[in-house]
């Protein structure tokens, strides 16, 4: 009976020694495992931070690139949009200018034309300060019954200079109007329809745009 009890006690001591050793061994392995995992996780995080820091130091360039993409697309769209609007306006204004040219051509065939031509000749004569003047017309207009005497009187009255108008033997290539020049000299006033339209084009275009588009 005593011998059995002693054996049991010894067995307990042996078991305890082995249990303690097992626990110590398990703890050692677990600690090593944890330490290894922590070390790898730390190393991984260190690498991630280094990569992020490097990328972030270049992120200003990335932001610039993103901004540049946006601005390039917008600038191109705005340029195209402006071009669309302006070309349409230009087209409309040119349409009106063409009609004005056609109107002037038709005017040359109307009853009002002689009066208009007379006014253009007088205006030119006045602008030249009167005197001895030559009036160059196109071939058709040179056959019109123009009262050059009355026109010269008006010029003389407005310029306070004795004036004389005579038709030039040279024809002008024009749809209407006249070129008025000093008989002795090179000074002239071009009052042909084409020249008038060209001179008035800048302000006429503004007028057209105002009327067309408000």
């Amino acid at each position: 009976m005593k011998s059995e009890s002693t054996e049991t006690n010894v067995q307990r001591i042996v078991d305890r020694i082995l249990d303690d050793a097992q626990r110590e061994a398990t703890a050692l392995v677990e600690q090593a495992q944890k330490s290894a995992e922590t070390s790898l996780a730390n190393e991984s995080e260190r690498a991630r931070q280094k990569a992020l820091n490097e990328i972030r130091s270049g992120s200003e360039t990335n932001d610039d690139r993103i901004r540049a993409i946006r601005e390039t697309v917008f600038a191109e769209a705005r340029r195209k949009a402006n071009w669309m609007v302006l070309s349409e306006k230009e087209l409309a204004v040119n349409g009106v200018l063409n009609e004005v040219r056609e109107n002037l051509c038709s005017l040359a065939h109307s009853k009002k034309y002689i009066r208009t031509l007379g006014r253009l000749i007088v205006d030119g004569g006045v602008a030249l300060g009167g005197g001895k003047l030559e009036v160059a017309l196109n071939e058709i207009d040179s056959r019109l019954p123009l009262d050059l005497g009355s026109m010269a009187e008006v010029v003389a009255e407005k310029t306070q200079t004795e004036s004389e108008l005579q038709i030039s033997r040279e024809y002008v290539k024009t749809s209407g109007g006249a070129i008025i020049r000093k008989a002795e000299g090179r000074i002239l006033v071009d009052n042909t329809f084409e020249a008038i339209l060209k001179r008035s084009e800048p302000h006429v275009i503004l007028k057209i745009a105002k009327v067309l588009f408000g």
């Binding site: 050692l28 290894a36 990328i55 993103i66 705005r78 669309m84 349409e88 006429v204």
Partner: protein
Amino acid sequence: MFRILKSIAEAENEAKRMVEKARALAEDMLQKSKEQSEKIYEETYWRTVSEEKERFKEEERRTLEAANYDARNILRKAEEQVKEIQAKAKQNLREAVEQASRESLQ
């Protein structure tokens, strides 16, 4: 008595072996983790760089998509303006021709 002491001594020896074995295993694990750490560092570094590059590419793609969408809106508005211009030009053509003709002969 001798048997008892022997049993205990054997148990202690066995315990010592167990702990030694565990210690060796632990050292081995730590050594392997040290060896792995450089590889892990490199892998994580390049993976992060690659992920960030991808993220940036995606941001670029989304920016471009959004900008194109806005650009289409700008062009749509321009098309509407063009239609308005055409309508106004048609409506005011006569008056513009008359005024311009008058103006140019003045």
